[in-house]
């Protein structure tokens, strides 16, 4: 593709990575898989270290990160959406937040610079997991019939309107929710990666031809890198909070 007379690689080249290890087997590993392994290891390391060492009264270092992470998820995710009885989902939501955050933040780590969640596999897996969890919670707390009735026939709607409302509610609750959850995370990461790549290529090409011309795109690249750090954390937060909202919605139906 040719943008502004610059050589821009086709979009596929930015997201397809050749296998590095075990090529040809089902266990083939490429950069995406390695990033997920890194994210998993980082999440386990933070909470494993913090939990395994003898806990200090005044937390410092890794323990501090882990404790404030748990506190953050408890205060601004669980308490705001599910309430006190949602505390049993705290481990799930905290791990989810940190795992997604670590696999997003590789987008701005120098020389790695690839957000693993810009491949659809893990977002859709996480979203389907969330789908199973909130449906299970709904059936557990309201019974299968009550859950279906509360989610398909929202109270307070005139009887005749159920002809329109019920199909819409069915599609939005059971079909669109997991996909919009996955697409939100995935598309944000794709967009961020494309943005950074565009400004990087622009500044590299302009540096080759006119040294001064590279200043503007490079300043933009730096600013966008900062913005992408924010987006990585925000997307992890939004994925977590939407999970909590869905779980909370199936635990306490609207009356």
């Amino acid at each position: 593709m040719n943008v502004l007379a610059l050589e821009f690689p086709p979009v596929n080249h930015l997201f397809d990575w050749p296998s590095i290890l075990f090529e040809g087997t089902p266990f083939a590993l490429n950069k995406v898989g390695l990033t997920y392994l890194f994210a998993m290891a980082a999440t386990i390391a933070i909470f494993g270290f913090a939990g395994a060492k003898k806990n200090r009264l005044v937390p410092a270092g890794v323990q501090h990160v882990a404790e404030s992470g748990v506190n953050f998820v408890e205060d601004s995710v669980v308490m705001q959406t599910i309430g006190p009885e949602g505390r049993k989902f705290l481990p799930l939501l905290t791990t989810m937040f940190f795992f997604i955050f670590f696999s997003n933040i590789t987008e701005v780590i120098p020389f790695w610079q690839f957000p693993a969640n810009s491949r659809m596999a893990m977002p859709i897996t996480l979203a389907l997991m969330v789908w199973v969890i909130y449906n299970f919670q709904g059936i557990k707390h309201q019974g299968a019939g009550g859950y279906l009735k509360n989610s398909l026939f929202p109270p307070g709607v005139p009887k005749a309107l159920y002809v329109i409302v019920t199909p819409i509610e069915f599609v939005s609750t059971f079909v669109v929710r997991p996909f919009s959850l996955a697409i939100r995370l995935w598309a944000n990461m794709v967009a961020g990666h494309l943005l950074l790549v565009t400004f990087a290529i622009l500044s590299a090409t302009l540096w080759d031809s006119t040294y001064i011309g590279a200043a503007l795109p490079f300043a933009m690249l730096v600013a966008m890198t900062g913005f992408e750090i924010l987006v990585s954390a925000l997307q992890a937060f939004i994925f977590t909070i939407l999970t909590a909202v869905y779980i909370g919605g199936s635990m306490h139906p609207e009356h």
Partner: protein, 85 residues
């Protein structure tokens, strides 16, 4: 104009139209969510200014509203990526 059209390879023209469609589609898809996110954030800010003590709750709800509104723009973006040659 017609001569140029007649000499152009149809495949090439399809590629060009696809690119135009992708660009236009994403631009159109961004209008509504742009207005929507503006409304959500603007109202959140004015309620935070009115009642600073409820800022935490308003912020959480604001992110939720942004997330739902933004989904439409993102679907437009996905179509844009899919249509790219």
């Amino acid at each position: 104009m017609l001569n140029v059209l007649a000499e152009t390879d149809p495949g090439e023209m399809v590629e060009g139209l696809k690119a135009i469609g992708a660009g236009l589609g994403y631009g159109l898809a961004a209008i509504g969510p742009g207005i929507g996110i503006g409304t959500v954030v603007g109202n959140a800010i004015s309620s935070m200014a009115r009642q600073p003590e409820s800022a935490g709750m308003v912020r959480t709800t604001m992110f939720l509203g942004i997330a739902f509104t933004e989904a439409l723009a993102l679907i437009g973006f996905v179509v844009f990526i899919l249509l790219l040659p």
